[in-house]
Amino acid sequence: MSQDHTEQQKDAARVRDAYAELAQTEPPDLLDQAILNRARQAVEKPPSRRPWGFGWVHALSTLGLLVLSLGIFHQLREPAIPAATDYPGLMMPRAADAAPEQEAVPSPAPMRAYRSAPETLEIVPEAAPEPRMKLSQPPAGPDAWLAQIRSLRETGQDARAAAELAAFRAAYPDYALPEDLQP
């Protein structure tokens, strides 16, 4: 048993020596480089995506968007604040500017109406009372005013005479009315 074991050890030693004599062949250099590069790439962090990667492309596209946005904004804004030369009808009413060729230019009617509406509303209340102002405007004194009222009655304008008489009484509440004008 031990002799067999010793023989086995001798055989193993001979084989080991014979194997050790074999050339120490090594992998080609290119293979080494390929593997080492692969190993390094595997642990390298992937290049972070630069927020401004392709910088000039980004800059150009951003600029283009900006120009486009400004253009759209301008287009939308033009009707609201029209240039004087484009929409002369919107200009302040100056007679000298109302040349015939400018009148021919179509004016943005809705905008003009919208913008002019408040002006109309302000003017109308002042213009409306004009007839009443005429009626209520007292003559030089109470006697003259009463004479005017008599004249209205004589000419058959009873309603107007009544309105003037009411206005007279409001203006002169303490004045004693003559008998012919008392209600």
């Binding site: 074999l22 593997i35 080492l36 190993a39 642990v43």
Partner: protein, 176 residues
């Protein structure tokens, strides 16, 4: 870093230290390459399997645990890679005589050495696959019986038996 253990280097590589891999690679490039070369007898196929084996190592870098013996771990990957190859392809072929040249010897002595070594390589290739694998894991990789058993997935006694039969056949080729 060159004093670090294989296991520590592999662990560091798993954590992203590429230089640790370079040191480790330098230690094992020769033995691993010859393991494939002498299993296959074809340098082209050996190159492919050698590269493929390292790629598996690279891919498994984060699964490596420092308590695992690196040498056994590496050759286990190599062994499995080789078994897969044999399953998918073919048995090893005879090794060309001029494959592994020796240099720097007198022509006659060199010729005699070359002839002896060629016979030895042929005998190695002629061994049954399991015996050759066990012998190369011992002679080239330097693994212990226990580690060979772990790498090949068989018992320790089976490994001893394979080594014994393989050694006996090779000795016959070495006889004058």
């Amino acid at each position: 870093m060159s004093d670090s253990s294989d296991e520590a280097l592999m662990q560091r590589y798993g954590q992203g230290d590429a230089d640790a891999f370079t040191v480790l690679y330098e230690r094992y490039r020769g033995p691993l390459y010859r393991y494939f070369l002498r299993q296959l007898g074809d340098p082209v196929q050996a190159n492919d399997l050698y590269q493929g084996c390292w790629e598996k190592v690279i891919g498994a870098r984060q699964r490596f645990r420092e308590k695992t013996p690196f040498r056994a771990w590496l050759f286990r990957i190599a062994h499995n890679h080789l078994v897969d190859f044999f399953r998918a392809h073919r048995k090893p072929q005879t090794l060309p005589d001029a494959l592994e040249d020796e240099q720097g010897k007198a022509p006659e002595a060199q010729l005699e050495d070359e002839q002896r070594q060629a016979r030895f390589r042929q005998a190695l290739l002629a061994l049954p696959e399991e015996q050759r694998d066990a012998l190369l894991l011992q002679l080239e990789a330097g693994l212990s019986l226990e580690h060979i058993a772990q790498v090949t997935g068989v018992g320790r006694e089976t490994v001893k038996s394979r080594l014994r039969y393989g050694t006996r056949k090779l000795k016959q080729e070495l006889a004058p």
